[in-house]
Amino acid sequence: MLSIKDLHVSIAGKEILKGLNLEVKKGEVHAIMGPNGSGKSTLASVLAGREDYEITKGEIYFHQQDLTEWDPDVRAKEGIFLAFQYPVEIPGVSNANFLKTAVNEIRKYKGLDPLTAVDFLKLIKEKARLVELDASMINRSVNEGFSGGEKKRNEIFQMAVLEPELAIMDETDSGLDIDALRIVSDGVNHLRSDDNAFVVITHYQRLLNYIVPDVVHVLHDGKIVRSGDKSLALELEEKGYDWIKSDPASAV
């Protein structure tokens, strides 16, 4: 589904990703772990199409198509979703209008008729239940005045409504208390299927107790230095990132 080859990315002339390779197949959950500054969020931003990042070398394919030339909205329409580390507050636009616009834009792209108001409401209610979001928040402005946990739940809620093929979660666990973490994880586990894939970016192993990954990668200094199964996350938790930093060679 997703194939990243020798990816080099710079921001403001500084190289952040230095030859990253990643293969994600349908039905898989990949965890990407790494210390601060290793390039985790850069990877998420580049996949979503944030404009300030420059790809200096390498390729990104989504279903064998080069996605680097796609605008952010096209990536979303093609089935890529980024759950933001810092979701943006948009006063004056209600969650309902925002999501309805998004759903119908994506449907239009796929040649489908827009959802009726009734069907949309049904969809919203069903998905809100999934992440235990209060229905009243549907009519509030996007993320405005939401707590950190509510914002993250809102990200997963949007993910549930838009049903992407590839979901990238950028440190969704940061700042979540244990209850919110459980709700978010339950939501994600519910959405997992043989037809979609998740890339879970996290600093801590904790989230991976709830969302159990098929593959764990360790990112260090712009490259994936080690990959393994879920036990790698536990090992990393135990030994700390200094283990990787001090001996990146042992990774290969």
């Binding site: 979503a48 199409g49 944030r50 404009e51 605008d71 952010p72 909205d73 990536r75 979303a76 329409k77 979703f81 980024l82 933001f84 979701p87 943006v88 948009i90 006063p91 004056g92 636009v93 209008n97 925002f98 999501l99 309805k100 616009t101 998004a102 834009e105 994506i106 792209y109 402005s141 949007q158 838009l162």
Partner: protein
């Protein structure tokens, strides 16, 4: 241009003699003298020019270049269809065309006891004492030649009197339609609102036009808000793009009164709004909201003055602008806090979005503070739509144009939120949605 300017000025001064003749002794000596003094004042001062500090960024020469016929000409018949787009349910409605009252298009329901809502021309005859007490008392023309011109000619407009302890059940909706179909027209809408002690009223003032030749609207509004009275006033300015609109408003608030004014401007080639709010008593509350959305070569100039004369008052001001095309805007917000006005809280904010590289805005907050125990703040911003927000919307599959439209609508809706007349809020919200191209 200088010539044309003087030409119109001379013509308006000259025509006053004809206007005077039509009175046939029906006007009291008090008003005869007042109007004469006013026209002399206008004759001496002439139209404002950019050499005056308060008109520095607004050149009204294009407005004075046309050979306007006086608004006393009988207007052509206006059909109901022409006002249909502006109608709101459950209001007390008065319609004026080129300043002339249109009884057939108006609808005045039975009002609370002693409450008066009538054309000013009739009020001069039926309520001379009230008019002598209040008319031209708040709107002093000495500082404004256009107010003087209005004072000389004003008879088209509305007198609203809410007695003490009275609550106006329906909002009063004043529709001023400019009809330029048979040539250039100048009109002088003049509203006088007296809200008695502990009374409440909501006013909606729609300024619109039917098209035709360019017209000039020179409006003056006077509002007296007595102790504990509550006045909300919504100004919707949507004349066509050839027209010129100047509006001077003078609001006097007594102690513990509340006044909220919304000014929404989307029309006219040139719009100038002067809001002068004087807080004569302590414990007053004042809210001024403004929204302007301009394109092509439109120009808007909002001048506000809130004069805190006594202690413990609160004023809050939020003006937002969306500027497209080669439009130009001015926001000049002055807050005066006099020595006696301790414990004043005064906040002011002006935010602008420039949708085009060629649009410009001049924002100038002016705080003049003579008391030492006050909280005052002001802020002005202008820029583009927020990149982070745009990216967030796009990342959910919303195409760039629609994302920009959503954010533009959101920007405007912060002002609309404070409109308490639900059908009006709906009307404006739909208008803004249409303009952004959003449909949901």
């Amino acid at each position: 241009m200088e010539n044309q300017d003087n030409k119109l000025q001379d013509k308006l001064v000259r025509q006053f003699a004809d206007f005077e003749k039509n009175w046939n002794g029906s006007v009291s000596e008090h008003f005869r003298n007042l109007r004469k003094e006013a026209i002399h004042h206008f004759g001496r001062m002439g139209f404002p020019t950019t050499r005056q500090e308060s008109w520095k960024y607004t050149n009204i020469k294009p407005a004075t270049a046309n050979a306007y016929e006086s608004a006393v000409d009988p207007p052509e018949p206006i059909s109901r269809d022409a006002i249909a787009p502006y109608l709101l349910p459950e209001t007390c409605r008065l319609v004026f065309v080129n300043g002339q009252f249109q009884p057939d298009l108006s609808e005045i329901p039975e009002l609370s006891a002693q409450m008066v809502v009538q054309p000013l021309s009739r009020a001069f005859k039926e309520h001379p004492e009230l008019l002598e007490e209040h008319f031209a008392r708040y709107g002093k023309y000495e500082g404004s030649s256009l107010t003087a011109l209005n004072t000389a000619y004003a008879d088209g407009g509305t007198f609203i009197y809410i007695p003490d302890q009275t609550i106006s059940e329906h909002p009063v909706h004043l529709i001023y339609l400019t009809d330029g179909r048979s040539g250039h027209r100048i009109s002088y809408p003049r509203n006088l609102v007296v809200a008695g002690k502990n009374s409440q009223v909501k006013l909606i003032e729609t300024s619109a036009s039917t098209g035709g030749e360019a017209c000039f609207v020179n409006a003056v509004n006077e509002v007296r808000v007595m102790d504990h009275a509550h006045v909300e006033w919504f100004k919707v300015q949507e004349e066509n793009l050839l027209d010129f609109h100047v509006d001077h408003a003078f609001v006097n608030q007594d102690q513990n009164s509340y006044c909220k004014i919304h000014t929404v401007t989307t029309g006219s080639a040139i719009t100038r709004n002067d809001l002068n709010i004087t807080l004569n008593g302590s414990g007053c509350e004042t809210h001024l909201y403004g929204l302007y959305w301009l394109g092509s070569k439109q120009h808007v100039d909002n001048h506000t003055l809130i004069d805190h004369a006594r202690a413990n008052s609160y004023s809050n001001e939020l003006y937002k602008g969306i500027m497209d095309g080669q439009s130009t805007g001015v926001f000049n917000g002055k807050v005066m806090v006099r020595q006696d006005a301790q414990k004043t809280n005064a906040f002011q904010s002006n935010k602008n979005i420039l949708l085009s590289d060629e649009a410009t805005i001049n924002a100038k907050p002016e705080l003049e503070i003579y008391a030492d125990d006050v909280k005052c703040s002001h802020g002005a911003t202008s820029g583009q739509l927020d990149e982070q927000s745009l990216f967030y919307l796009k990342s959910r599959g919303i195409d760039p144009g629609k994302a920009a439209a959503l954010l533009t609508f959101a920007f405007a809706s912060e002002v609309l939120e404070h409109i308490s007349v639900e059908p009006l809020k709906q009307y404006l919200s739909e208008k803004i949605q249409q303009r952004t191209g959003i449909a949901w």
